[in-house]
């Protein structure tokens, strides 16, 4: 069984609270986050492939009293696998890395990714030393992830198995400076 990506994103972000900071990885997960409702505390990536998790780490360490969620795709995560090792060594208690895994590169024509060939992202996260790992395959497991995200205590890694559908694109703003400025203003950060 697989989950529908837009519904999964909406579930994870429902009643998100002021303290949830979101880094959606480039491509479909950015469109999913925009579709769930724009928010100044979303730092959508239109590039920087392989960097989403590390942006989340820097942010989580800078903002220890807020929760940080990186929600990205399997292709984006595969490009930055080393960052899971780096994150495990730091283990910020307020960081969740959530991978929407459909086994394909959706933005480029549905070519198969390594996860379709059997590469196990949960296993990688575990081998790196991330203690809390969730494999999310149905609505009950998604609800459990949403609960844990609301009450985040310890670095969390989750794979959400999603269907390979391609819902219509919902594009967030793409001016990187504007995204940065509004994000910092929303959480009250000064230069």
């Amino acid at each position: 069984m697989t989950l529908e990506r837009r519904a999964a994103m909406a579930t994870l972000l429902a009643d998100r609270g002021d303290d949830l900071l979101l880094v959606p990885g480039l491509g479909s997960t950015a469109w999913d986050a925009a579709a769930a409702g724009d928010d100044d505390r979303n730092f959508y990536l239109w590039g920087a492939m392989g960097g989403a998790a590390m942006i989340g780490l820097g942010l989580a360490m800078a903002q220890p009293n807020r929760r940080v969620a990186v929600i990205t795709g399997d292709g984006e995560m595969l490009m930055g696998l080393g960052s899971l090792a780096t994150i495990a060594t730091q283990s910020p208690p307020n960081l969740a890395i959530i991978v929407f895994d459909n086994g394909v590169y959706g933005e480029t024509g549905m070519q198969p990714s390594h996860t379709q060939a059997g590469v196990d992202l949960i296993g990688v996260a575990g081998a790196c030393g991330i203690a809390t790992r969730l494999d999310v395959r149905d609505d009950n497991e998604l609800a459990d992830l949403a609960r844990r995200l609301k009450n985040l205590r310890g670095t969390l890694f989750a794979r959400v198995q999603i269907a390979t559908d391609e819902p219509p694109r919902v594009l967030p703003i793409r001016d990187g400076i504007a995204l940065k400025e509004r994000f910092r203003a929303a959480i009250g950060v000064k230069s």
Partner: protein
């Protein structure tokens, strides 16, 4: 060399502290060893060892989103690993302070270091980094201070280049 000149990494560390650097990311390099030790020993600095340098470019962006100042330490060979991720700093005008120890430019024993070392400066310039080169021990801290001002004062990219002559050649036989 003056009696004090060998302590430039300590003065560089103090400059980073005065500059409010809170996160220091690095891929270990012999030329940065003393600075890394100082950062690791400091309770107020989050030291982050990376698997590859481009992770640090993304980390620094996240740090700034959250209000922290970061510095990224690497060897010249690591610059090549950062190229695409530098798009993040350029597109969003994230401040990015890089401290880069040079290989492949002065009495280099290992020819495999030369290709990247020979293009480090031009590649960084193409990526819109301001280059601050230090050749003498006594100029390192002052140059780093200039770079910090450039980076965090105007949300820009800067590379402090620590020349191989400054660091000294690697000893291959012990």
């Amino acid at each position: 060399m003056s009696a004090q000149s060998g302590d430039w990494p300590d003065r560089l560390f103090e400059t980073l502290k005065r500059g409010g650097i809170q996160q220091v990311a690095y891929v270990p390099d012999a030329g940065h060893a003393r600075l890394i030790d100082r950062c690791r020993a400091d309770d107020e600095i989050r030291d982050v060892a990376l698997t590859t340098e481009e992770e640090g470019v993304a980390l620094a962006a996240g740090a700034w989103l959250g209000g922290d100042r970061a510095a990224l330490l690497m060897q010249s060979s690591g610059v090549g690993n950062c190229i695409n991720m530098l798009s993040l700093a350029r597109t969003c005008r994230f401040p990015l302070l890089m401290l880069i120890t040079m290989r492949g430019e002065w009495e280099e024993f290992n020819p495999w270091q030369v290709p990247m070392g020979s293009i480090t400066d031009p590649v960084l310039k193409l990526c819109e980094a301001e280059i601050y080169r230090a050749n003498e021990p006594n100029e390192v801290a002052g140059i780093a201070q200039c770079a910090i001002q450039h980076v965090f004062g105007g949300e820009r990219i800067a590379a402090v280049i620590l020349s191989q002559q400054l660091i000294g050649k690697k000893v291959w036989t012990k």
